[in-house]
């Protein structure tokens, strides 16, 4: 075995330039695969992280998945209902205290209950539609993604006496209002209340910055005429991946719709899977091209070394020896190429991680390319490279090993 290894090394080192070209082919393939994988994975991780960070991991609302069944449907075998006018149930999540204490018992994470009502915010003749969200200033910061995005004030300022509100900076700009100004909120019930702006936030998500107004829970309940009601429970889990089972358990127990973030973003996650498939296809294609390079050089070597193959066979080497020899040559080139490729990939990933660019037109948001550093990418790229090299070496090796030494020796004499 050692002997065959020596011969293989001698063969490839005897063809310096071609070997280097083939090696560089593999190296570039491996390097670019790694860089691409790092970029794609980084983008995906970044995206998922944003999803996970900005959304509650599980959101319980006072909706049901199917329309409420009418008692007549349960009582009679057949019932046709028309012109139904269901009772207006404005209680939100029934018995919220019991539900919350039940959740408190076992949820591996944090949660906060809110009352969300649709309304309009008005200031100096300007009107902006908004979701008026009633929060508990103590509980909300533990689940809210906004907490890090305050430009002025905070949730805690809500509790400091009087009727206070926290709104997004885009909304404030549209209204022409600033910190300390008093705005008017009108609910769908037609009730009106005046709030003083005690906080401004900027999350970067326009829908949020323009359409959310946070007030104390009590104020929201008064504004929407729903005393003591809550209609949303937002849950942040310690482990975001545990969301689906938690959501299932809550839904089974409380009977309300509980949506895990995976469910809410199913189509996006599906798109990411498709993106991964595309990425690995491209990686495989790059490796295939590198494989052709190896095929080429091993083919050339077997042609050139036809005489040596005949000699070795006449000396008593078997066909298997010859096959191993050339496969080994292919794999040796690929191994060297892979090592260079690792260095190349590492360098490229590092270079990409240094790239900075301005995303927002205002020039405020400087962003780096999201990069994932993962040894898995290196392993996958090498596996592809070595695999394609083994195949690329095996095909000419098999043909060369089969050749009858006599034909070659005869041809030479």
């Amino acid at each position: 075995m050692r002997l065959i290894f020596d011969i293989a090394l001698t063969h490839i080192s005897g063809r310096g330039r071609q070997t280097i070209v083939a090696m560089l082919g593999v190296a570039v393939g491996v390097g670019f695969s790694i860089a691409m994988a790092a970029l794609m994975q980084g983008g995906q991780d970044d995206f998922v992280r944003q999803l996970v960070d900005t959304m509650p991991h599980v959101q319980v609302t006072d909706e049901q998945r199917t329309a409420r069944r009418q008692p007549a449907e349960d009582f009679f075998d057949a019932a046709a209902i028309s012109g139904l006018r269901p009772r207006d149930d404005r209680r939100g999540i029934i018995n919220p205290t019991a539900a919350l204490s039940w959740l408190d018992g076992w949820i591996p994470g944090r949660f906060a209950a809110t009352l969300k009502a649709q309304g309009v915010v008005r200031y100096s003749g300007q009107e902006v539609g908004a979701a008026v969200i009633g929060i508990d200033p103590q509980a909300e910061p533990r689940v809210s993604p906004i907490i890090g995005d305050f430009k002025a004030g905070s949730f805690a300022a809500l509790a400091a006496g009087g009727n206070n509100v926290v709104i997004g900076d885009t909304m404030a700009r549209r209204l022409g209002a600033g910190l300390g100004d008093t705005i008017t909120a009108v609910s769908s019930e037609g009730l009106t209340r005046r709030f003083k702006i005690v906080g401004l936030f900027h999350t970067g998500t326009t829908a949020r910055d323009e359409g959310e107004a946070y007030v104390l829970q009590k104020n929201a309940q008064i504004l929407s005429a729903r005393p003591n009601a809550i209609n949303e429970i937002n849950i942040k889990l310690n482990d975001p991946n545990a969301a689906p089972p938690v959501a299932r358990r809550i839904e089974a127990e409380l009977g309300y719709k509980a949506v895990a973030w995976q469910e809410a973003n199913e189509s996006i996650l599906e798109a990411l899977v498709v993106r991964n498939v595309i990425m690995y296809t491209v990686v495989a294609a790059i490796m295939l091209v590198a494989g052709f390079g190896i095929f080429n050089i091993i083919s050339t070597i077997t042609h050139e070394k036809a005489r040596d193959i005949a000699i070795m066979k006449s000396l008593g080497f078997t066909e298997t020896d010859m096959r191993i020899l050339f496969v080994l040559e292919g794999v040796a080139i690929a191994t060297a190429g892979t090592l260079i490729g690792w260095a190349l990939g590492l360098a490229m990933v590092y270079a990409l991680s240094l790239v900075r660019f301005e995303l927002s037109a205002t020039g405020q948001e400087m962003t780096r390319l999201p990069i994932a550093w993962s040894t898995l990418h290196y392993a996958i790229a090498s596996a592809f490279a070595l695999g394609s090299a083994a195949v690329a070496g095996y095909l000419p090796a098999r043909r060369a090993a089969r050749a009858n030494p006599v034909d070659i020796i005869r041809g030479a004499t």
Binding site: G14, I311, K313, S314, G316, T318, V406, I409
Partner: protein, 240 residues
Amino acid sequence: MSTLVEAKGLTRILEETVPVTLVKDVSLVIGEREFVAVTGPSGSGKSSLLYLLGLLDRPTRGTLTIRDRDTDLMDEHERAATRLANIGFVFQFHFLLPEFTARENVEIPMRRLGRLGRDEMRERASELLAALGLADHLDKRPDQLSGGQRQRVAVARALANNPPLILADEPTGSLDSKSSEQVFQILERLVREQGKTVVAVTHDLDMASRMDRRVDLIDGRLTTETEKATTRGDSEAPET
């Protein structure tokens, strides 16, 4: 004299569009310590016969036994193993591996067989080469050696695993007369002093006449077998 190689009705036909008969119905017994010349005109099948005897080629018909083992029953691996341990080849062209030095070339069959340690192989290779007058050229590559020297390295390589049978295909065919004589004497010494069997294909009738036995082929058939050959009138002029 014990039998080393025995051929019965050995026939080799090349399956081309028009089948070409290379060797036809050759029966032959070669014992140990024999020095056999295979002669005949060009294209008479001398080399083909040698390749059959050396297990490089398979006969179309007929049987070949080496040391009482029917080679037809051998698989690829056993044939390769037999070539490795029992047969040494010397071709008209040296057929050394060009990237390796003289000593490495001689070591290759030993390393493939793997019976000796690396140091012993090195020592044996050096001894073999020294015995053939190449003590000063151990670490030269084939392209740094003269034709005669290369051919002697090839002989040393054939002897590497100490096989009982040496097959030589026109070993002196591409050499000048001085080198030819040298190589011939080496082959002769192998038979006389080391008890090997040497079967050599040759054009050179003068050389053939100095061997123990001469096998003459025409059109793939065995015509005459002569012990202590007397020179026969032949269509081909001896090469000198």
